[in-house]
Each structure stands twice: as C-alpha cells, then as structure tokens.
Amino acid sequence: MRKFSTLFLKYNTWLLFLLYCAVAFLFMRLQQDDVQAELHSGGMEFSAFINEHLMSFNSLFTMKRENERMMRVNTDLLSKVLSLETAAVDERNRRKILADTTFNASGFIMARVVDRKFSDRDNMLVIDAGWRKGINKDMTVLVPEGLVGRVISVSEHYAKVMPVIHPDFKVVVVADSCNSMGILSWSGGREFLAQVEHIPISSHLKLGERFVTSDFSTFSVRGIPVGRVARIKPDNLFYDVDIWLSVDFSTLTQVLIAPLKTKQEQTGLTGYTTEKKTRL
C-alpha cells in the first residue's frame, strides 16, 4: 500500500495527464458514436415511457366512465346501423316490385307489411298505410306475382289485410285459357295450396293452367294472377281443384294496394252489400 502511494505521488503528474487524456478520448468517443444524442433520446424515451404508464394507471380509474361512454356510443351507432339496414331492405323490396316490367304499379299505393299472424287456420297481415294514405276498406292487396288479399279494416296509419290464405276469404277467379270460373277459397293446412270450387265438370281445365281474378269480383280488379292448377278431382257436378298459389306469403314484405273498385250499382243489382261479411 505504501509502495502504491509512493508510486502514485511520484507519478501523479503523469497520472493526471493520462486521466485528462482519457477524459478527452471519452468525449471524442461519445461524440463519434452520437452517444450524447442517444443518451438524450434514451432519456426522452424513458420519460415518455414513465408518463405513458402513469397515464395508463390513471386511466384505470376512469375506465368505468369510459366504458359507459363507449356503450352509449355503441348504442347510437347500432341504432343508426339498424335504421339504415332497414331502410336499405325496404328500398330493395320497393325496387324489386317496381322493376317488374310486366306489371304497371302506377296508381297503386305501396305499403310495407309490419305485422303478420300466420297459422294453419287463421292468417292476417297489417300494413303501414292507413286512410291518411288513401287506403279504404275492401281495397285489393297484391304483389306483381299475384293476389295477396283484401283490406278489411283501416286506421289512420295502418290497415288490416285478410290474405288469400284465410278461411273467410273468397274471390271469383277465372282460368285464363278455358275461361272456366270458380270461387277461390282456402280451407286451412298448407299455405301454398288453395281450392277452387264450382268449376263445372264439363269445362276443359288442365293441370298447370293459370287462374286470375275475374271481373265478376266485387272488390278485386280483374286479371290479377292467383295460382296454377295443381290437382283436378272430378266430383258429381263440379271439379274439386287445388291450385298452387302464386304468392309466397312467408316472404311477403312489400305490397301494393289497388284503387277501390267502384261497383256500387253492380253490387246493388246482385244483392251484395258492403256490410256483408263475405265478399267475392
């Protein structure tokens, strides 16, 4: 130890010189490697890291409020998305109806099916058009594919429709090739099959023949497709005919309402009145 201190005291000038040179070299090294800049950026990164974690820690306390806010935002967005999707579907259905070039929809009132009640016995539809839109009782409800039903009651904004597949619904139909007339009705069961009664056994009805509404009907305009013959069963005087209905009631979303047929004088002559429960 003594030797060391003696040596140190003896060569202290050289040691000091070497120390200074070492410091100078260190500075040169730092300058060459941009260590100062790296230290500076490292310090900044460290400071940012600490600040970030402090912010994260603070955000834990405000998480509940943030979640509630996000939930409100999500609810608003979901509401908007649903509204837009519904509008898009409605528009698509409306265009689908209007795109049918074989069918002129001008003069018809368009409505949307907002409620329905389907069962094997009793079916009913509700549409979003009432007397404010000009809907009246006994107006014909249809789609380009065929007859849907008849308006049976009307409120300000809604109307109730008795579809073809209702036990009380009846309409006079005619075969478009042999002109055989009959009365269409539905006796329950399968919703795509209806029956046509009172077709004379002498008529030349064939399978697949199309039935349309007749001008004899008290409420329906003529020529609306109803369905095609699916089965013909001869009885004593009349054929017992089953027909495939043209309208798929399970996918019904948009409908058209035909203007009211003004046949007061005709109904007066035939003895039918608007109060009668069943119209043909």
């Binding site: 040179c21 410091v23 100078a24 070299f25 500075f27 040169m28």
Partner: protein, 164 residues
Amino acid sequence: MTKKFLVSLVLLCIVSLVQEFGLSHVTFFNASPDAVTIFLAFIAVTSDRNTSTSFGFVAGMISGLLSGNMGLHMLARTIGSFTASYFQTPNESHATVNQRSRRFYSAVILAGLCANLVLAAGENPLGVSPLYRIFVFGILESLFNLILAMVLNRLFLRQSLGYE
C-alpha cells in the same frame, strides 16, 4: 495562490473567448495566431506541471465548447500544456529574464506544434494533407504565436505576472 489560480482561470476564459470570436478570424495564409496557446505556455512556465496540465484541459474544454469538438480540443490542449510544462521555470530559480523569456518562447512553440499535431490528426476542415497542415500551418501558427508572445512579453507579462 488561490487568488492567482482564480485570476488565471478568469483570464483563460477571456482569452478563449477573444481567440474564438476575434483572433481566429485574423488569418494569414489560412493560419491565425493562437492566444490560448500563448496563455497556456505562460502558465506552463510559471506554474507547476499539474496546474499547467489542468489549465490545458480546461482550456481545451472551453475551446471545444465554443468550436463544437470538445474531445479533440481537450486532448490537444492537454498534451500541449503538458509538453510546454517541460520549460517550467520556478520562481526561486536564478534564471535571468532573457532565459525565462527564451523558455517561454520555446514553450509557446512546442505547445503550438503539439496542439496542431493532435488537431491535424483529429480534424481537417480545409481538406489539406495532414503533413502540409502540420508543417506549414503548424510552423506558420507557431511563428505568429511567437511574434504575438514576444509582443505580449514586452508589453504586459513581465510586469503583471511577476517575472521581475
């Protein structure tokens, strides 16, 4: 002693500033006189070796701070001061004024050459060859330093820092 040290330190700062912002712009053939080297040589002659080396280190630090190349200037000034301190002349020595002056001039030349050597090895802003820089600029600068040192020695140094 402390007062003298502090005064020297303040003077070093002033000289460094004067050198950096004044004398470095006075160039002859791309060489300029270096007042810091003259000051360090004077310290080396009049003080002990450790003080001289330390002053060289501090002078290099100041020059480096002002020029932007701290490490190299610290090294150059430290080596220059350390070598110049070989010409140290203690106060109690019986050297004449002329001998002291010659030692002082030798210290100025040696310190300037050493500092130039190190600076030439470390940086070359004019893009000239290192040998040209060492021998031409070094000699030119040493010559200018010698002239300036002689002027200063005649005017101020003998009286103000206790040569006589």
